[in-house]
């Protein structure tokens, strides 16, 4: 392109900002659609499934500590007690 620098900048502003807004607007609708679909299809199975599915996700944060650390912690706690 042989535009001037200003033209290039204006183009970048126009098309860049436009893309950002269009993309995030589409994402708003996609997210709303996704949440609606997910919550429509999971509630049916929710009553039974919720407890079975919740744990793996809820269990996430404790699981990020590897098991041998947890066992080491328990040992440390036990050791600490005996003092």
């Amino acid at each position: 392109m042989q535009d001037t620098l200003i033209d290039q900048g204006l183009n970048l502003m126009l098309f860049g900002m436009g893309t950002v807004f269009v993309f995030l607007t589409i994402l708003v609708f996609a997210t709303i659609l996704m949440s609606t679909l997910v919550n429509r299809f999971t509630p049916a199975t929710k009553v039974e499934q919720a407890p079975s599915q919740a744990p793996p996700i809820a269990a996430n944060s404790p699981l990020t500590v590897s098991p041998h650390i947890v066992s080491a912690i328990e040992k440390a706690v036990a050791a600490h007690r005996q003092r």
């Binding site: 900048g9 502003m13 098309f15 860049g16 997210t31 996704m34 996700i57 996430n60 990020t64």
Partner: protein
Amino acid sequence: MDNVNTLWLSSGLAQVQAGQIFMMMVGLGLLFLAIRKGFEPLLLVPIGFGTLLANIPGAGFELAPIYDAAGHMTSPGGLLYYIYSAGIETGLFPLIIFMGVGAMTDFGPLLANPKTLLLGAAAQVGIFSTVLGAVALGHFGILDFSIRDAASIGIIGGADGPTAIFVTSKLSPELLGAVAVAAYSYMALVPIIQPPIMRAMTTQAEREIKMEQLRTVSGAEKIIFPLTLLLLVAFLLPDAAPLLGMFCFGNLMKECGVVARLSDTTQNALINIVTIFLGLGVGSKMSAEMFLNYETLGILGLGAVAFCIGTAAGVLMAKLMNKFSKHKINPLIGAAGVSAVPMAARVANKVGLEANPQNFLLMHAMGPNVAGVIGSAVAAGVMINLVSGM
């Protein structure tokens, strides 16, 4: 006597140039800001130290290795050369850090109130108006900025370190030092830069708006959201796919709950290792030739403007949305759309508490805050695409 001469000639005192001394003072200044003032220390400590190392006269931290005709290495390269060429020139380090940031991000507040994505979009106005400012300075011959430079400078307004480094290393590697320093410094200055703008753009009544409690978001939504985002990126804006792809990957590892040990390493050992080397590598671009010029002053000035405009645009967008929606948004959370996670959300919360001590905005502000990360990654992708074709 030859040896005394050899030692003297190889000493720093015999080789030092004024620019190097000045840059070492810049490095010490960055360390001071990071350590005493708490300016984004995780990045500015390595960048500041890297600046010191890169400017040691005769130490050769940034030299490439030399090979003879037969391909044998006759002189190994410097540490910073290897770090820069393996991790920054290739784009690997910013992408790995984005994966780690993804693994630390909770999209829950955003999913509970998806329209706050628009606040994250609005705040990117800061990026593009800064681009305009930079091309204006370039056009009128005030500073020597090309369109590639202007895009790299604009991305400072994204308030997102790895994104800024990724874009600048692709478009204007010689500006990398100044852009990274500006990006991290202003991110640290968010609590000082934003509140006056936020107060000026809002009325007391607006600042007191109390938002509805966010709904609970299910685990399934959190798992499917990064995949939704990735697919949208894939089909609409593949240029943003490297950054957002790794971001979504990290987030999926966190949310899916079945690879906790991978997610944990991504958030700890891996991101820490890469952060150290990324910072040192950025430091290697902090040489006097690249940093000590008027362009750097221009970059610092434009970067501050970018943050201000982004903040204002986020607030205005929130006010505009309130005109069309009955679920009112407190416009202060619009300022969190610049990203600078989680600092900007905390600032929104704090300014909100000043107006109404019962009004806790933190969780509401986390939505636009992570939306700002997506928004600037999208802006990065579109700029890389468009600028490469100009």
